[in-house]
Amino acid sequence: MNIQTDAGPRGPSATASKSDLDSIVVRFAGDSGDGVQLLGSQFSQETALAGNSLATFPDYPAEIRAPTGTTYGVSAFQINFGSRPIKTAGDQPDVLVALNPAALIVNYKNLRKGGLVILDSGAFKEKDMKRAGFAVDPRLDGTLKEFRLLEIDISAQALEVAKPFGVSQKEALRTKNIWTLGLVSWMYDRELVSTTEYITRKFGGDDPVGMANIAALKAGHAYGETHELSGDVAPVSMPSVKSEPGTYRLVSGAESLAWGLAAGAQLASLEMVLASYPITPSSPILHILARLKQFGITTFQAEDEIAACCAAIGASYGGKLGVTASSGPGIALKIEAIGLAISTELPLVIVDTQRGGPSTGLPTKTEQSDLFIAVWGRNGDAPIPVIASRSPGDCFEVAIEAVRLATKYMTPVMLLSDGYIANAAEPWLIPSMADFKPFPVTFRTDPEGFHPFLRDPHTLARVWAKPGTPGLMHRIGGIEKDYNSGNISYDPSNHQKMTDTRTAKISNIANDIPEQDVALGETKGKLAVVGWGSTFGPINRAVANMREKGLDVSHIHIRHIWPLPRNLGQLLKSYEKVLVAEMNNGQMLTLLKSQYLVDAKGLLKVSGQPLKIEEVSSAIRSQLGAA
């Protein structure tokens, strides 16, 4: 063991330059095969159970198993936890756990000055360092001089512990993530119960690999204790956060979105058919719902996204709730079919878990650049409601809202999530189904005066008549329909009327959604920072920080992207300046300008990484001319 303390002015832990110990950001990084995601999510689980607020950011490569030791094979997991409400996964890690040289070279530059680097010295052989791109040993040439360094031969420790269980060398070495988890758990005073249970569940109680992993977990923990890692890396106890009473769990965006869809279907008194084609980062929705058959949910892995969307439409036509889920390239393929659902006025929920684009883009990285395709990306005048979730837990409510709008207005609804939300986890106050007001659909059964495009005078939604209903046989399709009979019509004035009606139906939804609120700050003033989707955390924290410094800035976060909340235009005009912060090249910015003629400015970022608090803060300072 070798602790370098050049840059560490004082202990304990990694919050040396912080005035208090109310939050810590830890980043685990290693090779794709090192089990870093498991390490991170188990640590998150332990942290959540300890009552801390937290946010996570799994940041993994597109390659499943890139060649070992390469920089592009580095997988990372960042967690920010604390005794105050945590809103982002943190701008800068305080602690970096690097399980190989590649993980170090990719991540050390973003570590806070004075932060702690824990590295597996067993993985720092000459050739490993070369492969990662270190010409000289970074531990010796001053590369890490701004940080504190804790070197442990984790590989050797793990091998040693696992040996007695008679597992192979390879399997023994693979316990190093769990050994590390044991160590970090000691550092932050975490209970090992949930991880022990997890390992037992996964391997069974008497499996040698399982036993080796449990031994590794305990050994890592014991290492911290017995080596009296003190001073710079002494254990830190993070007090639990004060939160609303209730039952909590950790939830990822994909989970809460899938459950929200199931909840929405239940509230609508409908069974559901999810048709999807695998694509990162959307696939978990398919995986989760495939296990919920007992909820009246059918899942269908289609041959492509076109078929998936079409099958969902077929299911809606049959009187169930059709849902389809995908990401950018798949959404592009669904467009023509979405037009069919618009024209035939059938309910459909389309979930777009956005990722970096265009084309294949950055499959595993996050972005918000599908706003245009969601709002405007179809042939013809083809409006649909578009809503976006702001956080993993928020996906639940947003999914229910998507189902409500789709069934009440007989329309496709686009639900925007993104790769960050889908993969990140946060503590979640588990909702109770009893708290949601049901919105059961009614199917048309009365043949008297029936035609398929009869409309509710209030919502303008057409009747939903499903095959199998006696006396209601009818034909629908993508050709324009006569307003008064639903039969094919090429009449010019009828097309005008139908286009206007479809548009009015969607615009009217503005009266059925909440007015835009202000997430933080005042309803007027010098500056409003406007965001949507997963940028909620960094914007909210930055605005809070700047307000503490006395700046006149407020945060507005938009859930209903189309139609926009009816008061939004007025609200925006009550600020001297408007700054739109988003992870694209100005899509919401353009939308707001076009709708309200506001002279908004953009804070635009498309690096595949979430917005940072500091990026938003400095944009606020510069907008307000503050130092």
Partner: protein
């Protein structure tokens, strides 16, 4: 006392919608439509439990003219829409109407998967070897040399053979008929409907405007008997005005020879007997082409699987539900939770 009045038997007319049929006068689609109206009535089908799903093309206008439920979808995607419908509502009688372009060009992938999965759909492919609706471009079934607006010097690419394609996709019911042969179509429609799983029926259809008489070599009255082989399970594959022509297996080349009884020592015993469960034979029959061979018509292949796709899906769902209905509150509280008071 409950008096159940037996429903009046429906007639062909009851299956015709009130919409004016808009195909060109003389189009083969009219005959198919008429045959379908009558067949459904004969089968005792109920209009409210019958759905016609189509793509885009002249042929795909079919649902508008049926007094059943109908969904005119988008180009090539009818099998996908119908699959979703069938997953949602397995009890419905779902028919897919498609054209050679719709099914084999833009929709080739969906047709493949609907057949492979064995969704219980009755798929009718109206093959006119042309793109009718878009005014006569050559199609994936057009023969080499087809002149069309997009191939003024004749097409150069090899055509697809619909039944062979379906067989390769794993279809377990494959049949072929001709638009104007209502009696034969009637049999095919009934067999297709009875078959549990995907049924594929190719219907040779004359486009009088853009590809007239393209099938004349076997459909014209004077050649029909000699150029059409109507196969029936368990019966020798004989054809010709005098029913003295037939198919014989050539064991040397593992292929079929068209032979004449009484010539070159061929006797009735040499003629192959049709076995609709034989997939190898089905492959050989589907691929026979005039003028060297007769066009093979009738049920070429029928070999049902134990279960159709949506039935297997429903069985899994039933199994999952046997442990009790889902409880979301319980689901969300499963795993690691904690309570703040």
């Amino acid at each position: 006392m409950n008096v159940t009045v037996p429903p009046a038997k429906l007639t062909a007319k009851d299956f015709a919608s009130d919409q004016e049929v808009r195909w060109c006068p003389g189009c083969g689609d009219y005959a198919i439509l008429k045959a379908m109206h009558k067949s459904l009535a004969d089968m005792g089908a109920s209009p409210e439990n019958t759905v016609f799903v189509s793509g885009i093309g002249c042929s795909s206008r079919f649902p508008y003219y049926m007094a059943t439920y109908g969904f005119h979808t988008i180009h090539g995607r009818a099998p996908a829409v119908a699959t979703g419908l069938k997953l949602a509502r397995p009890e419905l009688d779902v028919w897919v109407v498609t054209g050679d372009g719709d099914a084999l060009s833009i929709g080739g992938n969906h047709l493949f998967h609907a057949l492979r999965r064995n969704v219980d759909l009755n798929i009718l492919l109206f093959n006119n070897e042309i793109y009718g609706l878009t005014k006569g471009q050559y199609s994936p079934t057009s023969r080499v040399g087809q002149r069309s607006p997009s191939t003024p010097m004749g097409s150069v690419d090899s055509p697809a053979e619909a039944c062979t394609y379906a067989l390769g996709c794993g279809a377990r019911f494959i049949a072929r008929g001709i638009d104007v042969q209502a009696k034969e179509l009637d049999v095919l429609f009934k067999r297709a409907r009875e078959h549990k799983g995907a049924s594929f029926v190719e219907i040779i259809q004359n486009c009088i405007v853009y590809n007239d008489a393209t099938f004349a070599a076997f459909t014209e009255k004077d050649v029909a008997a000699d150029m059409q082989l109507h196969v029936k399970h368990g019966q020798p594959m004989l054809y010709g005005k005098e029913r003295n022509k037939g198919l014989r297996l050539n064991p040397q080349t593992l292929s079929l020879d068209a032979v004449v009884i009484g010539q070159n020592g061929v006797t009735e015993k040499d003629i192959l007997v049709h076995d609709e469960k034989n997939r190898v034979l089905a492959g050989m029959l589907a691929a026979l082409r005039p003028p060297s061979f007769p066009e093979v018509l009738g049920v070429i292949y029928c070999n049902p699987a134990a279960e159709s796709y949506e039935a297997a899906v429903a069985a899994q769902e039933k199994q999952a539900k046997a442990k009790g209905p889902g409880d979301l509150d319980k689901l969300m509280r499963g795993g690691n939770i904690w309570t703040v008071s």
